[in-house]
Symmetry: C2
Amino acid sequence: MSNRTILLNSRPVGMPTANDFKFVEQELAGIQPGEILLKTRYVSVDPYLRGRMSDAKSYVAPFELDKPINSGVVAEVIESQNDQYSPGDWVIGALDWSEMQISNGKGLNKIDTQLASPSAYLGVLGMTGLTAYFGLGEIGRPKEGETVVVSGAAGAVGSIVGQIAKIKGARVIGIAGNDEKVQLLKSEFGYDEAINYNSTEDMPAAIAAAAPNGVDVYFDNVGGEISDAVYINLNKFGRIAVCGSIAVYNETERPVGPRIEPIIVKNSILMQGFIVSNYAEKFPEGVQQLSQWVNNGSLKHVETIIEGFDNIPKAFIDLFSGANKGKMIVKVD
Amino acid sequence: MSNRTILLNSRPVGMPTANDFKFVEQELAGIQPGEILLKTRYVSVDPYLRGRMSDAKSYVAPFELDKPINSGVVAEVIESQNDQYSPGDWVIGALDWSEMQISNGKGLNKIDTQLASPSAYLGVLGMTGLTAYFGLGEIGRPKEGETVVVSGAAGAVGSIVGQIAKIKGARVIGIAGNDEKVQLLKSEFGYDEAINYNSTEDMPAAIAAAAPNGVDVYFDNVGGEISDAVYINLNKFGRIAVCGSIAVYNETERPVGPRIEPIIVKNSILMQGFIVSNYAEKFPEGVQQLSQWVNNGSLKHVETIIEGFDNIPKAFIDLFSGANKGKMIVKVD
């Protein structure tokens, strides 16, 4: 049985390109006792994967050259010699970017595609939603009436963060990169104010205008100059949840900017970085709360679905130009 | 009765100079009912006063031009028309840089000069000791066996932080600016390792060598390049207590350095700025614990005592060249 897989061809220097990926066709062996054959249905592409493509030490091991890339994948069980899985089951897990693959089932979880769309398990009910839920709830901790700023606000995580902050009774300001997203933030996600950083000359002033009472919580998905503009608007005892720095992931030099320490001292700021797995023990609580909000209509999720296995690398690369609204997912037939 | 006072003559640009201060001689009126006449005995000079000499918004109001500067002062009551104070009482409070002054007694606390030296109330048992105690205890939270790095380690706060970290069972590494201080850190304050940043070419490597298990807690008094060298040695879930940024207080441009956000995300770092008054409710607990450690000999305090009212500005200015070991205090006869 023939099968295509995407390997890491070279470690990206700066912005990743198509040449950093290599498609190979390999023969799959038949499954052995205990194994299952999986057909890939949905693939999650996420900014954090950029870090794994470098060989720098990070919170997850780097991908190896000439080995398959993996990410969150929803797959269908096609054949099974494992008691726990039957053909027709849908599962989620960290799986290779392959059309088909063989697994022993470990680390996979079955999903109920009647309860939610399969792709939702890669987004609002998956790592994306949990990242928003725990980063905001455990670090940002917005109180009713406080002001929350979200960068990358129309992205996978940001679009959920803003809505949760609204549920908590905060005033919510989103920062995004084009007018269409700014519109979406207000019309779809309930943001009180939204700022297009590409068309705004004086970002610090724009944030100050949108946040007349100052900023209490900053949920940061992007880093860089956008963050600099938020920092100087923080109130005393402000909290910064640092979720990602997509603005600098592709820098080849160590990025430089205004030092934040004087602001941190002056206003007794708390700044905390996190990855979602820090809160693994609380995942069931998070999924339950997110499901409830989705089901009662208070949490909308938007996806950008790209079709076709061939387009996985492009979908990933396009994250860095902000081509996605909400969660970027590749659907594989 | 004639009396000298030190006013803010001009707001310092960069490093403060003698010209930024002005000595004036003024006649003091007699005291009215409810008032006390105070003679200044000990004056605390502290890096944070530099911030108050600028007119930028900060956590305490700026000093006014041509008005007296004030800081922590120990004074003796000379005359009293206030029931709560008698001549011969010693008090501590935020008082003017004047040889003599009149007060209504509000905001002052009596000190027991039998229990500890008067200057100790400006240092280890005062704001300095409490800053060390709460910054390390509430933010750094070192666990037994963890590695703690302290910058400005031989300074007023740093010398106490290191000793408390040792009491908590941590491995403690101090960073200071000359060999005499480095020696003092090891011989007097019990630091496991000490690094002279002025004679060390490769600070990141020196910290890595001194901290073979990485750095879990960084108590930062200085900021700037010393901090950059510590940051890249932080372990996952590291904590940074940002107490001060003396290295950049005298910068006239907004200081620039490597962005810290990617490190904060990668290692789930917590960075928190604070001033001691954030913990005012817990001061009694802090003073009690510090007194106990001082009395049982597990907490030594070192002071640099400068003599003479005339030398107050110089003592303050000399903080920025690191002239002090431990707490810098001016004794006024």
